[in-house]
C-alpha cells in the first residue's frame, strides 16, 4: 500500500444556489520518499487537492489515506495534529512571521513538534546559517523561501507540501529553491509534493499528476527524473 492513497476525492463548494465542483473523483497514490509534482493550469483544482492533503480543508467525498490513516475523516483537532506533526508547508508567499528572526521563524514551528530537528542546523542546511538573526524584511525573496523551507523541515514532517514555491521568485532563485527541495527529498527520503502550473518543473519529479478541470488528467511516472540543475529553463 502506498504511503499516500487518494481515492475518489471530490470537493464541492456551495456558493448560494450555485454548486461549484472544485475537484471530482480525484484518485492517485504516492509512495514514501517520492517527489511528486501536481501540475495543472490556474483554477484546475490542484490547490484544493493540496489543501486537503495538507489537512487545511476536508473533502466532500472520497478518502485520503496517509500512512494508513484516512485524514478525510479527521475532525478539526485531529487535522490540526496532522498538520502539526506530519506536514511541512512551503507557500508561494513564504508566510514568515515578520516580527521573528529567521531562526525564530524556524523555532516557531519546531517548538510544537514531538521530534523536531535543531532549528539552527536546519537553517544551515538551507544555507542560511549566517543569517539566522535576520528578520524576514532583511532577507531576499529566495532567502525568505529558504527560511520557509527550513521551517517546514525542522518539524521533521512526513510530507513536505509546496504550493507554487517559486511563484514569487525569479527563475534563478526559483531553481535554487527547487534544487533544495529535490536535494532534501532525496537525501532525507522526504515525501515531497510540489504544486505548480509550470510544466518545466515537472521534469524533476518522480511522479507527475496532471489535473485539469478538477479531474486527474494523467499520471506520469518518471523513472529517471532530471536533476534541477539539468533542467532546461
Amino acid at each position: 500500500m502506498a504511503f499516500i492513497d487518494v481515492k475518489k476525492l471530490s470537493k464541492t463548494y456551495q456558493m448560494g444556489e450555485v454548486t461549484i465542483k472544485a475537484i471530482e473523483n480525484v484518485s492517485f497514490s504516492i509512495d514514501e520518499g517520492e517527489l511528486v509534482v501536481i501540475l495543472g493550469p490556474s483554477g484546475a483544482g490542484k490547490t484544493t487537492v493540496l489543501n486537503i492533503l495538507g489537512g487545511m480543508d476536508t473533502p466532500t467525498s472520497g478518502s485520503v489515506i496517509v500512512d494508513g490513516k484516512d485524514i478525510a475523516k479527521f475532525n478539526r483537532k485531529a487535522l490540526t495534529d496532522y498538520r502539526r506533526y506530519d506536514i511541512g508547508f512551503v507557500f508561494q508567499f513564504y508566510n514568515l512571521v515578520g516580527n521573528l528572526t529567521a531562526l525564530e521563524n524556524v523555532s516557531l514551528a519546531s517548538q510544537i513538534c514531538k521530534h523536531p530537528k535543531d532549528s539552527l542546523t536546519t537553517l544551515k542546511q538551507v544555507g542560511l546559517g549566517d543569517r539566522s538573526g535576520h528578520f524576514p524584511a532583511q532577507l531576499s525573496g529566495g532567502e525568505q523561501q529558504r527560511v520557509s523551507i527550513a521551517r517546514a523541515l525542522a518539524k521533521n514532517p512526513k510530507i513536505l507540501l509546496c504550493d507554487e514555491p517559486t511563484g514569487a521568485l525569479d527563475s534563478k532563485t526559483g531553481r535554487m529553491i527547487l534544487e533544495l527541495l529535490q536535494d532534501t527529498c532525496h537525501k532525507e527520503h522526504m515525501t515531497t509534493i510540489i504544486i505548480t502550473h509550470n510544466a518545466v518543473i515537472s521534469e524533476m519529479a518522480d511522479k507527475v499528476i496532471k489535473i485539469k478541470n478538477g479531474k486527474v488528467d494523467d499520471i506520469l511516472i518518471q523513472k529517471n527524473p532530471k536533476l534541477v540543475k539539468d533542467i532546461d529553463w
Partner: protein
C-alpha cells in the same frame, strides 16, 4: 454610485466594526452630552420654577420693621419691578421651629400639590411631608403677638421655591434650625408694620438664575438698594425718634395735666379738711358758749326764782300779817265777806230808809263806810292772796318751763358735742387718707416723671434701625442647589473629556485599520480610474453613516436618559419640579462637529496616505513591518529565561507602538473611570461610617424646652427614670461663619464636663490622637479649618442670627466629615457669651428602646425636640443611595466603553495579524495555542493598562472628589482595597469575556483564504 453601494455592502459585511464605530461614537457623545447638559437642564428647570412662582430677587428685613414710607420709597426705585411687603414670624409648632408667612399672591408663590388656596383666616398651607389636609395646627400662644388666631386647619400642601433644600436655614426658636414653613392669610397679622419686603429686579425674570446676566441685572437694583438703605434707616430712625419724642411729650403733657388736676383736687380736699377743722373749732366755741350761756341763764334764772320765792314769802308774811290782823284765815274770808256784804246790804237798806240828814243816817252811813272799808280790806287780802297764789303758780310754771328749756339746751349741747367728736374723728381719718393719697400721688408722679426721664434717656440711646438685604444667594436651598448642580458640571468637565478622548482614539484606530485592510481595494479603484475624491467620499460615507447613527443614539441617550438618571439624585436631596429636558443645539452641533471632524479627518488622512503609493503597490499587501529586537533582549539574563513563546510575545508587544499606546490609553482610561466610580462610592460610603461610627457615636440630642443656667435635678431624674445613664448637659446653637463669598452654617456645641465628651463624640486630630477641650479655646472641624484657612492658635469669627460677631480661639482641629462644628467647654462659652447656658442634653440610649424612651421623654414636656443620630444616618443613607445612581451610571458607561475598547483593540489586533494567525494554524498550532499566542500580548497589555489605570484612577478620584465636595462635606478620599480588586476583576473579566469572543473569531479565520497572496 457603485462606490456607495460598495459602502453599504461593506457595512453589511463588517457589522462588527460598523457597530463598534457606532457604539464608540454613541458612548462618547451620550456621556459627554448627558453629563454636560444635565446641569444646564437642572438650572433651567429651577429657573423656570423660580420664575413661575415669582421667587424674589431681594428680601429686606429691618430690625424695626418696615413702614408704608419705606415701601413707597422702594417703589420709586428705577430698577425695581415688584415691591411686595409682607409679614412673617417664627414660632414652635409641635416641637418644630416653623416660619409662618402671610401668603402673598404676587411673589414667592407656592405650588399647591394637594388641596387649595387659602380662603379664610383659619386656614393654613403647609409644606409636604409632615401634615395632611384637614389637620389642625396649633401655634404656641406667643404667636398672638403677631396674629389673631393660633388654631388653623390645613387646606393645602405646597412646595415653595424659597425652600427647595432640606436644610431650611437657621431659626431663632427651638433648636435653632428652621424645620418647616407655613402660610396663612396676611390679614391674620396684627402687626403695625411689615416685617419684610420682597423685591424683584426689572428684567430679572428673563434672565436665567445663577447666570452672570442675572447677577448683572440684579446688581443695578442692588446698587440702588445699597444707596437707599442708609437713607431709609435714618428716616425710619428719625420717624421712630419723633414718634418716641411725641410720645414723651404727650406723656409729659398728660402728666402735667394730671398733676394740675390732681393738685387742685388735693388742694380742694385740703381746704375741705381745713374748713371742716374750722367748723369743728367753731362748733366747739359755739358749744362752749352755749354751755356757759346756759349756765349763766341757769344762775340768773335761779336767782330770779329765789327773788320771786322771797317776794312770795314776803307776800305770804304780809298776808299772814293781815290775816293775823283780821284774825282770820284765808279760808274764812269768803264767808266773812258774805257776812260783811250782807251787813252792808242790810245797813244800806236801812240807810235808804233814814233821812240822809239824820244822825242815824250819818252814823249808819259811817257804819256802812267802816263796813265797806273792812270788806275792802278783806277783798284786798283776797286779791293779795290771789296775786300771791298767782305768783306762786307762775314761779312753779316758770321753773318747770326753765327746767325744760334747760334740759333741751343741754341735750342739744350734748348732741353738738357728740357731733363735734365724730367730726373730729372723721376729720382725722380724712386727713390721714389725704396724707396717704397725697403720698401715693407724689410717688406716682415721680414715677411717671422718672419714666419720662427714662424714655428720654432711651430715646437718646435709640439704636438706628438696620436694613438687612438678602438676595437669593442667602437662601441655602438656592445656593446649595447651584453648588450641587455645578458639581455635576465639574464632573462633566473631567469625565466626558476623558471618555470622549478614549472613544475617539478608538474610532480613529478602527478607521485606520479598516482603510489599511482595504488598501487593495483602494488600489483597485484608483487603477480603475475612480477619482480620489470619489474614493475618499465613499469611505467618508461609510464613516459618516456610522458616526451619524452613533450620534443620533448617543445624543438621544445623552439628552433624554442621562439627565433623568442624574436628576433623580437631586430630587432626593432637593424639593424640585420635574426636570425639563432640553436639546442643546450648540453642544450637539459641537459634538457632531468633533465627531464628524475627527472621523472625517482620520479617514481622509489614511485614505490619502494610500493615494501616494502607486496602485500596483496598493494591490500588494503592505510590506510587513520590519522586525526589531527589543531592548529587553539586551538584558540577556532576563531574555534567556523567557520561554520561546514569551520571547515572541515580548517582541510582538513592542512591534506596534501605536497599538500599545492605544491599548494602554483605552484600558487604563476605562480602569481609571471604573475605579473612580467605585472610589466615589467608597468615599461617600466611608463618610457615613466614619462620621456616625467613629465620630458622632452618641444616640440622640434632647433639646430642652427652656434654656437653663445650670443642671436641673428634675430633668436629670427624668433621664435616669428612662434608663439613660450616659448624658451630658450641653448647649447646641447654630451660627454662621463667612468665607470670602459665602456664609456657612456652623453648629456650636458646648459641654459642661469636657472629660465626658468622649462617650458621645470622638474628637481626634488627623493623627488619630484624642483631643481634649480646654477652657481657653475651641476645637473646630477639619473642613471648617480648611475653608477658613486657619490653624491651631488662630482666631475666627462666628455670627449669630442677630448678626452679632463672636471671636473664638482655635485650640484644636478635629476630624469631621459632615457639617461644621465648633466644640467648647461651658466655661469658655461663658467667657464668650457672658454666662453658661444649656439648651440640650446629649445622650446614649438603649438601642432597642430608642423609640419608647423618646416618646416617654417627650411626654414629660421637658423637651422640645429630640434629634436622633439614626435619623441623620438615614437621611445620609438616602443621599448615598442616590449618589450610587451616578456611580452606577459612571460604572455602566465605563463598562460599555471598556468592552468596546477591548473588543475593538482585540479585533484590530487580530485583523492586522490574520496572515500570521493563519500561518500558525497551518503550522499546526491548536486553537488554544493560537489564542494564547494572541492573548498573551493582550493580557500583558491589559494588566499593565489596568495597573496604570488604577494609578490614574486614584488621581482622577482625588480630583473628582475634591471637585464634588460641598461646603458641608469633607470627603475621605480613600479608595477601599476591595474597589481596586473589583476594578481589577471587572477589567479582567471583560478581558476574558472579550477573549472568549475573539476565540471564536480566531477559530473562524480561514487558513486558506488568509494565505492567498493578496488579502
Amino acid at each position: 454610485m457603485l462606490l456607495f453601494k460598495n459602502s453599504f455592502i461593506k457595512i453589511r459585511k463588517s457589522l462588527g466594526r460598523f457597530f463598534s464605530l457606532i457604539f464608540i461614537v454613541a458612548l462618547g457623545s451620550a456621556f459627554f452630552a448627558g453629563v454636560r447638559e444635565t446641569s444646564s437642564d437642572m438650572i433651567r428647570t429651577v429657573d423656570n420654577y423660580y420664575d413661575e412662582y415669582s421667587l424674589m430677587d431681594y428680601r429686606i428685613v429691618s430690625t424695626m420693621g418696615l413702614t408704608e414710607d419705606d415701601i413707597n420709597s422702594l417703589r420709586k426705585l428705577e430698577n425695581v419691578d415688584k415691591v411686595v411687603p409682607g409679614y412673617s414670624f417664627e414660632t414652635v409648632v409641635n416641637g418644630d421651629a416653623a416660619k409662618i408667612y402671610g401668603y402673598l399672591n404676587d411673589i414667592n408663590r407656592v405650588a399647591i400639590l394637594e388641596g387649595r388656596e387659602l380662603q379664610n383666616e383659619n386656614e393654613i398651607l403647609v409644606e409636604r411631608g409632615t401634615y395632611s389636609l384637614g389637620d389642625t395646627i396649633t401655634l404656641e400662644s406667643d404667636a398672638l403677638d403677631f396674629v389673631k388666631n393660633t388654631t388653623y386647619t390645613v387646606v393645602g400642601i405646597v412646595d415653595s421655591p424659597m425652600y427647595i433644600y432640606e436644610n431650611k436655614g437657621i431659626s431663632t426658636v427651638s433648636d435653632g434650625k428652621l424645620d418647616t414653613f407655613m402660610y396663612i392669610l396676611p390679614s391674620n397679622f396684627t402687626l403695625e408694620y411689615y416685617t419684610e419686603v420682597y423685591l424683584t429686579a426689572k428684567d430679572s425674570v428673563s434672565k436665567t438664575a445663577y447666570k452672570e446676566d442675572y447677577a448683572e441685572t440684579i446688581s443695578y437694583l442692588n446698587n440702588e438698594l445699597v444707596e437707599l438703605k442708609p437713607i431709609r434707616e435714618t428716616a425710619r430712625y428719625e420717624e421712630i425718634l419723633a414718634e418716641a419724642m411725641q410720645e414723651i411729650y404727650k406723656a409729659e403733657d398728660e402728666l402735667n395735666k394730671q398733676k394740675a388736676e390732681n393738685d387742685k383736687k388735693f388742694a380742694d380736699a385740703l381746704k375741705e379738711i381745713q374748713d371742716s377743722e374750722n367748723k369743728i373749732d367753731q362748733g366747739w366755741a359755739d358749744y362752749n358758749n352755749g354751755k356757759s350761756a346756759l349756765e349763766s341763764t341757769r344762775v340768773s334764772m335761779e336767782k330770779m326764782f329765789q327773788e320771786k320765792e322771797a317776794e312770795i314769802a314776803n307776800g305770804e308774811k304780809a298776808l299772814n300779817d293781815s290775816l293775823a290782823n283780821y284774825q282770820i284765815t284765808i279760808d274764812q274770808i269768803p264767808a266773812l265777806k258774805e257776812t260783811l256784804n250782807a251787813q252792808i246790804d242790810k245797813l244800806t237798806q236801812m240807810l235808804e230808809l233814814l233821812d240822809p240828814e239824820s244822825e242815824e243816817y250819818k252814823t249808819l252811813s259811817e257804819q256802812i263806810t267802816t263796813l265797806k272799808t273792812s270788806l275792802n280790806g278783806l277783798e284786798q287780802i283776797e286779791s293779795a292772796y290771789a296775786t300771791l297764789q298767782n305768783g306762786k303758780n307762775e314761779l312753779a310754771e316758770g321753773k318747770t318751763q326753765w327746767q325744760n328749756q334747760y334740759n333741751s339746751s343741754l341735750n342739744s349741747l350734748n348732741a353738738a358735742y357728740q357731733e363735734l367728736v365724730n367730726g373730729e374723728a372723721e376729720l382725722s381719718s380724712g386727713k390721714a387718707s389725704y396724707d396717704a393719697n397725697y403720698a401715693t400721688y407724689q410717688a406716682e408722679i415721680s414715677k411717671a416723671e422718672q419714666e419720662i426721664a427714662q424714655a428720654r434717656e432711651d430715646v437718646k440711646n435709640l439704636e438706628k434701625p438696620v436694613w438687612y438685604l438678602f438676595d437669593r444667594e442667602d437662601n441655602s436651598g438656592y445656593s446649595t442647589f447651584y453648588d450641587s448642580a455645578t458639581k455635576v458640571d465639574s464632573i462633566a468637565a473631567v469625565f466626558p473629556l476623558f471618555f470622549i478622548l478614549v472613544a475617539f482614539l478608538m474610532g480613529m484606530n478602527t478607521m485606520t485599520r479598516m482603510i489599511e485592510e482595504e488598501r487593495g481595494e483602494i488600489g483597485l479603484f484608483i487603477s480603475l480610474g475612480y477619482s480620489k475624491s470619489k474614493i475618499i467620499s465613499s469611505y467618508l460615507f461609510y464613516v459618516f453613516i456610522a458616526t451619524a447613527i452613533g450620534l443620533g443614539l448617543g445624543l438621544t441617550i445623552g439628552y433624554l436618559i442621562v439627565p433623568l438618571i442624574i436628576y433623580r439624585v437631586y430630587v432626593s436631596m432637593f424639593i424640585l419640579p420635574d426636570l425639563h429636558l432640553y436639546f442643546n443645539v450648540f453642544v450637539s452641533f459641537l459634538i457632531a462637529l468633533v465627531s464628524f471632524g475627527a472621523m472625517g479627518i482620520v479617514t481622509f488622512l489614511t485614505v490619502n496616505r494610500n493615494f501616494k503609493l502607486m496602485p500596483a503597490n496598493l494591490l500588494r499587501p503592505e510590506a510587513p513591518k520590519m522586525g526589531k529586537k527589543v531592548f529587553l533582549e539586551k538584558i540577556s539574563f532576563f531574555w534567556k529565561r523567557l520561554s520561546f513563546t514569551w520571547k515572541v510575545t515580548v517582541r510582538n508587544l513592542f512591534r506596534y507602538k501605536k497599538r500599545i499606546i492605544m491599548t494602554l490609553i483605552g484600558i487604563s482610561g476605562c480602569t481609571a473611570l471604573l475605579l473612580t466610580g467605585f472610589g466615589i462610592q467608597d468615599s461617600i460610603g466611608s463618610l457615613m461610617n466614619k462620621q456616625f461610627g467613629e465620630i458622632e457615636v452618641y444616640d440622640a440630642i434632647l433639646f430642652l424646652n427652656d434654656v437653663i443656667k445650670e443642671e436641673d435635678a428634675d430633668i436629670s431624674q427624668t433621664l435616669q427614670n428612662n434608663q439613660i445613664t450616659e448624658y451630658e448637659y450641653m448647649s447646641m446653637e447654630s451660627f454662621k461663619f463667612s468665607t470670602e463669598n459665602k456664609n456657612i452654617d456652623i453648629y456650636l456645641m458646648a459641654f459642661q464636663d469636657p472629660l465626658k465628651i468622649d462617650s458621645f463624640i470622638h474628637l481626634k486630630d488627623e493623627n488619630d490622637q484624642t483631643l481634649s477641650l480646654t477652657d481657653d479655646g475651641v476645637i473646630i472641624s477639619q473642613k471648617t479649618a480648611n475653608m477658613l484657612g486657619i490653624q491651631v492658635g488662630d482666631t475666627f469669627k462666628i455670627r449669630n442670627s442677630d448678626n452679632e460677631l463672636f471671636v473664638l480661639k482655635v485650640s484644636g482641629i478635629s476630624k469631621n466629615y459632615v457639617n461644621h462644628y465648633v466644640y467648647m467647654t461651658e466655661n469658655y462659652y461663658a467667657q464668650i457669651f457672658g454666662e453658661k447656658s444649656y439648651n440640650a442634653i446629649i445622650t446614649n440610649m438603649n438601642q432597642d428602646q430608642v423609640e419608647k424612651i423618646g416618646n416617654d421623654l417627650m411626654a414629660t414636656e421637658k423637651f422640645s425636640n429630640i434629634q436622633y443620630t439614626t435619623d441623620s444616618m438615614n437621611m445620609f443613607q438616602d443621599v448615598i443611595r442616590s449618589m450610587n445612581d451616578i456611580v452606577l451610571l459612571i460604572i455602566g458607561f465605563s463598562t460599555f466603553l471598556a468592552i468596546t475598547v477591548l473588543y475593538n483593540l482585540t479585533t484590530i489586533n487580530i485583523s492586522e495579524r490574520t496572515r500570521e494567525i493563519a500561518t500558525l494554524k497551518v503550522l499546526g498550532f491548536h486553537d488554544r495555542e493560537v489564542s494564547q499566542y494572541v492573548y498573551r500580548e493582550t493580557l500583558v497589555l491589559t494588566i499593565v493598562g489596568i495597573l496604570v489605570g488604577l494609578g490614574l484612577g486614584v488621581l482622577l478620584n482625588q480630583f473628582v472628589m475634591t471637585v464634588a465636595e460641598t461646603d458641608e462635606i469633607l470627603f475621605v478620599k480613600d479608595i477601599y482595597g476591595l474597589s481596586y480588586l473589583y476594578t481589577f476583576l471587572i477589567m479582567t473579566l471583560f478581558t476574558v469575556f472579550v477573549q472568549f469572543i475573539t476565540y471564536f473569531i480566531l477559530k473562524k479565520i480561514n487558513m486558506i483564504d488568509s494565505l492567498k497572496s493578496v488579502e
